[in-house]
């Protein structure tokens, strides 16, 4: 009988000290992920406290979308793609 489907689980790297980012990078990363649809827009009435895990989730979504290694941290390849000039529309439509 035909073989059944097997999925390999992706291997999720934990954030490593080498990838710690500065508050400025964190803020611009957050703005970028929010602007282009990888993080929900903050609710202006309720403020926007974002957990570290949510931020990593946004990075992971960006990395998956563009087939980067899914590390969940703002590593070199991720931030260099984010620095490229680009179209102003979101990547993921609300």
């Amino acid at each position: 009988a035909p073989a059944t489907s097997t999925n390999e689980p992706g291997d999720e790297d934990a954030a490593s000290p080498a990838n710690l980012v500065t508050p400025v990078q964190l803020r611009s990363g957050y703005n970028y992920l929010t602007k282009y649809g990888f993080l929900p827009k903050p609710n202006p009435l309720a403020g926007s406290l974002l957990s570290h895990e949510e931020f990593n989730e946004g990075i992971r979504a960006f990395q998956e979308f563009y087939r980067l290694p899914v590390t969940g941290v703002l590593d070199q390849s991720t931030s260099s793609l984010m620095e490229l000039p680009r179209c102003g529309l979101p990547d993921i439509m609300p």
Binding site: P2, T4, N7, R67, P85, C87, G88, L89
Partner: protein, 397 residues
Amino acid sequence: RRYAHTGAKWDRREITWKIRNYSPDLTTSEIIDALRNALQIWGDAIPNTFRRVHVGSADIEISFSVGLHQDDYPFDGPGGTLAHAFFPGDDLGGDAHFDDDEQFTVNAYEGTNLFIVAAHEFGHSLGLGHSSEITSLMAAFYQGYKPNYELPYDDHVGIQSLYGARQGSIPSLPDVPIAGAPPGPPRPDLPVPNTPEPGPDPHCANSYNAIAKIRGELMLFKGKSFWRMNMKGEPLEGYPIDTSRFWDQLPVKLDAAYERIDDKILFFKGSSYWEYFSTNRDPSFPHPIRELGLPDDIDAALPWGDTGKTYFFKGDLYWRYDEIKKEVDSGYPKKVADNWDSAVPSNMDTAFRFIDVETKTWYTYFVRSKKYWRFDESRGKVDKGYPRSFSEDWMGC
């Protein structure tokens, strides 16, 4: 990964466009030419036409502005966001705005190439979202100046899924490569051959050489023609078209075709096979099929999901090929009747898998001449009531 639709599209063939103002970076005619060429890159793929208007409103209104301008999305100075556009609709719908803090150029690697930015934004104006295929025009990032630009495969597929394919023919290349000739897409500057019109109803061909699921869509090949089907298994408008309009020097009268687990597309004919990356042929092919450990020619190829296994059929036998180990699994060939179902035809024309979008059930379909058999993978049996007429059930004949 591929193109994305937004659900919005223009419901008329002729789409109007208008330039509201000009950037000081270029002459007026440079801007007009760049924008016209950017629209035409889409116009070459779909039946729609673009007419420039000078007064009144237009579907696509183009303007150059800096910082805060007449929408809620202010530009951000040099770099960063270069432009944005709105999906088809009223008012701002379809409009494209360019950040005039950029230094727009034409036909040059320096600065920001207006043509490529405009071509991307007009993709939005026609209803496409951002593609995750990084090499496509609709990827979000600036791609730089590219001379002799051709619409990439992913964008071609995407826009034709919205508006159908442009009728008319583009000169076809010889189906056997001329020794030493560089591969490449069709050259529109060649005279158009007077190819005879296909028969009375091209959808109702008696049989098909190969049917394959490529980038999520069913593609049917017969002779020199090919069809594309939508997710419901209905032929896309404007098809069949000449394979040379889409594929780079694809042989005619194929035996089999399939998309491999690494996204490469393989075509088989006689004792040779070819490997393509999207629509571009790997120049190191053809190779002999025999190098895969298969017989000299095959009837059908059937990739099995993401297992990395591909089944090849010939006569009443089948082989299971391991794409990772690049060899036929031991113990093959085996008899189709013994391991699939005795109802599965020998000497088939083609085989493919397709999911029934309503019931979310995967079926394997075996096609021979005008008939097809539906194999229920969960039961391991051909369903009752088969074979049925392929053209009637699938092509609406």
